[in-house]
Symmetry: D2
Subunit: 434 residues, 4 copies
């Protein structure tokens, strides 16, 4: 991933050095296990830990000769070891180390992502509560539909974010699996009990069954669920982009101090963060698609998945983390224009209330047919001549022929449409966050 989108602490997980450290962590857990089992002599672990060293440059140099990353690693890292070196990597196959360490990295990454997601969820709850009673126009097909609560949008994003959290928590469990089952997964040179002990030390579970590697549907699930997380963020970002349009202006991304869209045109505040997030969702999607091609490997494993995983797994972790960071910042600082939301009703001449006019007429005894005809006539006139529907209804009604003045105000009162939303809010738990 380019440095522009690599944020701490996620980026520290995916350095070359951190990878070697995780390999070492696995190897040391093995020596500790051997010591506990009486296979390695006392202090083997202590000495191995003390005498191991990670020298990235050196390892890469050796690798360029032997063309095998784990052999290069072992050679370099054990250089200063004494007898304890005998137990280093003993009974393991390279993939035992690599794949277990990859699970560790994915687990750590996912924990960071879930933490960030929890922060984001808190912010979404705040917005959902804050705008519960804020009237805005609901739009379907991009067309004004019915008044609704601005808070419901945030409640909807909250609900999706909670679904994504649930998916990722499930995935966190699934990815917390390592394997020390040998070259073809049959434990020919290592006992399952050793695997269990080693993985316990790493807070991982053993795969119920592995080949040379951890099965790749698990990694695909991981990237699929990051893709869903990204699409959930994209949905919010797309909404902001729409609300910030020059013709809408109902909400704006926070504008950093010193930032300028255009020198002379103050309206030129571009929703660049939201746009950036939309682009990034595409990457999470396509990386996930690629990961699904890595599942069907040959026999007890082929290594075709490896080259692409070196790219897409870190990249998707980094991008997902970046997206959460930015969307949280953006939503937290969002500049909402409640007046403008009301103003917006005029763009469709208050015609969003036409159905209520008609239904009120019906409730007053008009036949549906007559009510419809009357309403439709006025509505069409407003649409064609760009006149305000409320004003035209008042004109038609000027002797209170159909409605009392109060009734008119009531009909055109958008809060009517919020009457049931508390029942939606009650389905969510707002307590725990306070």
């Amino acid at each position: 991933m380019i440095s522009r989108y690599s944020l701490s602490p996620m980026k520290e997980i995916w350095t070359q050095e951190a990878q070697y450290e995780r390999w070492l962590e696995v190897e040391l857990a093995l020596i500790k296990t051997y010591e506990e089992l009486g296979i390695a002599p006392q202090n083997s672990y202590k000495n191995a830990k003390k005498n191991s060293k990670i020298d990235v440059e050196e390892i890469l140099k050796i690798e360029s000769e032997v063309r095998h990353d784990v052999i290069a690693f072992i050679k370099s890292v054990t250089e200063n070891m004494n007898d304890e070196a005998r137990y280093f990597h003993m009974g393991l196959t390279s993939s035992d180390v690599i794949d277990t360490a990859l699970s560790l990295a994915m687990k750590q990454s996912l924990e960071l992502i879930i933490d960030k997601l929890n922060e984001f969820i808190k912010v979404l709850k705040i917005l959902a509560k804050k705008y519960k009673n804020t009237i805005t126009l609901g739009r379907t097909h991009g067309i004004h539909a019915e008044p609704t609560s601005f808070g419901l949008k945030w409640l909807s994003y909250l609900s999706e974010a909670e679904r994504n959290r649930e998916r990722l928590e499930k995935t966190l469990e699934d990815i917390s699996q390592g394997k020390l089952s040998g070259a073809v997964g049959n434990y020919a040179n290592i006992d399952p009990s050793v695997e269990k002990k080693v993985l316990e030390k790493l807070s991982l579970m053993p795969c119920k069954i592995s080949t040379q590697i951890v099965p790749r549907d698990i990694h695909a699930e991981f990237l699929y669920n990051l893709s869903l997380l990204g699409a959930g963020i994209e949905r919010i970002a797309l909404e902001i982009r729409h609300l910030q349009r020059s013709e809408v202006q109902e909400a704006f991304e926070p504008f950093t101090k010193g930032q300028r869209g255009s020198s002379a045109m103050p309206h030129k505040k571009n929703p660049i963060i939201s746009e950036r997030l939309c682009g990034m969702a595409r990457l999470l999607r396509s990386n996930a698609d690629a990961a699904a091609e890595n599942i069907a490997l040959w026999h007890e494993r082929d290594i075709s998945h490896s080259s692409i995983e070196r790219i897409i797994i870190p990249d998707s972790c980094l991008i997902a983390f970046y997206m959460l960071e930015k969307v949280t910042w953006m939503v937290e600082g969002i500049d909402v224009k409640e007046d403008q939301m009301i103003e917006q009703f005029k763009r469709s001449y208050n015609l969003v209330f036409s159905q209520r006019v008609m239904l009120t007429l019906v409730s007053k005894g008009f036949s549906r047919e007559d009510a419809y005809k009357l309403t439709q006539k006025v509505a069409l006139e407003c649409w064609n001549s760009k006149k305000d529907f409320k004003e035209e209804i008042k004109k038609v009604n000027d002797d209170e022929h159909y409605f009392s003045k109060n009734e008119i105000e009531d009909i055109f009162n958008p809060t009517y449409f919020l009457k049931n939303i508390s029942k939606i809010y009650e389905r969510f738990n707002f307590e725990d966050e306070e």
Copy 2:
């Protein structure tokens, strides 16, 4: 493909019957060739043609027994033949027939698509010319940017459509390849000269080299270029969806007589065709992605590509054809609101002219710094208080302190921004269509 999106004459290409007819076409071209070469006796072709029959039900019934589609086909189609049956399929392998016939189907489909695309290009030219001098707001990031010509949008779509036509014409050549090179592509049982003569009759070229089948990068290229065509249509559809938004209302999809978005709300005209087209572009994209997995087959062929090709190739042809049909209809009948485009400038308080105010001040001798400060002060006031920038500039200027009245009108005249567009139009050929 579901019948809802299957239009004639494209759908007739992809029936089971049409497939068998193409197989027969290949087989008859072979007999004719054998007759020409003196291998088959005179009248073999005539008799084979006369005595062949296609009975879809019967073929499928036989296939369910023998589990081989070409064997079933041959058995049924030659049932009423006499001696000429000896030369039917002689020297061929099943894939010679299937793959050559598939090329025929793709070629026919692509010809239909290019025809439709040509019609569409004509309509785009008409719109580009018609709206050449129609002022509209150019928008970047969804934010008002600079006035521009509404015709330029159509010229841009035209240009993309022409690029897609060029791509598809290249692909038409590439797909016009068949093969009669036998089971592994070595012509062990058939001479290359026979292949050449047969394919000539079918207006196809021989593959320079084939395996058991025509190489699949060609089919992937086909679907990739249909995907680009779809994305070009998506771009237009997305524009219409934006222009039809309740807050924009600058252009509308045609509304069929009798169609109703909503019974009482006449503003509820939903851009459903444009939305449908956007969804369909996603299918063309994902089908193309799948096709690229079909290229790397095992050795002289494995048949894993076949099951998915039976679905994605017809589906992408049908959808591309449907999209062209609909987008042409939509663009042809588009309801453009030129007044509304001018009205739109007010949504950003005519601030799109602020740069011209500043530059005019500079041209009058103001330092850039002073010009900027003056303009920015007024502009910010307008933005914050929702005042019209032109009116505020007039106020500041009320003694013609900075500008003459004519100058003000000139500054706020959006046609300034169209001064160079003829030079763009000149790059396109509008002659040939008239």
Copy 3:
């Protein structure tokens, strides 16, 4: 989906008629609810049920005029109704019906898929048990690696199938959500309690919050998990294709009576089902990829997802079902050649035992260096001269210099590599299936 790959009872779920029946099911559940709540008079439900009719042709004819599928449906289906028609669709928006009915269809489909998957899992268990002690060569990178148990392959597929079942069961819950929350999801014209009662009758839960529609991350999750299921089947199919290679011949797809790969060449049994399944996995993948583009819709919904969902959702259900049917059949009838598996060791000259030779030498007191040199010398000679490693070791050893005769037999006994596999089997539950 083409009829070739559409199997009962899945295909009956996705007919046009079945869709209208589900719509009617939703509408009738509403009338019943109204009746229960005293809103509609007694017997409304009974009469509505009795007087409703579904006439697909008529509905489609009306739709072609009014260009609205639900309006056409209502008009046709209520034609013979009396007063109860007043309560038909009352308070609903079209998407309440469409999206709730879509959830029903996806739920029914997923139930069928899970049933099939359960059958498949049973078959996998049988194979895993049957071949527990069957020696075969484990291969990594396509190269002989270490002896292993043929049963472990099936246990590995079983484990993946169980993970996929778990995913799909979770998805079944997630997809069992409907919505009757109106045009923008705010229940302006219907009470949440009505939604609850109606959905209960349909065995669905209400969405915690909906827009005009059920949120689309749920549908993407559905297709993502079908894609993982497909990739799991692809993994098995790919294995069969490898095992059936002419050079391997360790296992064969069942060959139907009467089926012929080639008339004269009996070895020409092609693994066509496996190949077909591999192709189909690509479709599930690309459909899933497309579904993820449907999540970020505009505001309270745009309808761009609809066109593509009409295709990819039924297609993925049909293909997943087909794949399960075929893979179960294939695995159930698999023709395993245990002798050939042993024969295979000769292809790499029994060199897979070289490590055991070396380790045995070490255990006898040889330095690792010396043991390595000795083994390596013989091994290289075998590799270069295509000699059998066991025989060459015997020669080197002819005076029992290094090993006793029994030791040699022991070293070259592949069952050694199975010593720990019972511990893997113990992790699985084989009881419940008997």
Copy 4:
């Protein structure tokens, strides 16, 4: 892209510094143009060039404040300029610089890729010629089919590589387009003649029409065609993986001196480069899929494409270049085992000749029915009892009942199958490379 897969000189194109240098190149071409047109005073270009500096750290530091990359760039790069700074960026919008420079980078990258591809094509020609008469088994479905020439495989890859070269050469033309048409593509602040002159200096053409940016179907075409290139390499890599299988051993990737697959097992040469290339093809595919989502942008541009393009465009260039480097190396050093190819016929008991036996019987006057029965009987016996078909035919024939001895040798001579391959080779031009 990770450094592991970033090779010179491609990686130098995609550094941050190189990007700024290309931006400067565009800006300087503008000043030169202004000077030529008499708009800027003499020596403006010379001075601007002399006084410009690129300080990556400084630019990034400024960007972190102003949040606009081009503004930061201009500020830093012009710091030491005098009057000539007035003409720097004059009349341009940021995207004029960014997008034109991106085209330059893609053009340079594609030129490198085409150069590498030409080298690869030379190597493919060498192999095609070298193995023209090498007998090998053609395989379909992974099953032995018919003898063929090993050279035909390479000729087939050559042909695909040539198609990919043709596609990339077309794309090179298409991508060689820049734009200096201003904020919405209407040349309001710059004349098309200036654009033309500037782009000429950069060896680019002006877009026929642009919005704020170069249209994105061109970038998608670029990535689509890199994806096809990748799939072509994947096809070769997949073949090598198959040929190197322990059961096949017909060809091997070059094994670097010092490289070891396994310490004791010399047969453990893993085709790791080929496997790596297969994985990388997946990345090119998914990046291309993502690029196609970037085409339909809002109005005169939205910037959602930018974040993802910063990743996928360099990554796909780097990976494509890496793949070509490696596949060329691999193919050049391939270790072909011609003897083993002949040996292979025994794996299917020489049954690949059964059809020739049957056809020879027919040519000798046997009815097709009788010939078939006889052949089939022997063939089945061989298949079931693992006997050699040639030997069994000899037995049946022991009194030369059916064939003379010479005829038998002729029937079982695989060179028969190569009789027409010269005609395929003649379609290719081998002259120009020598």
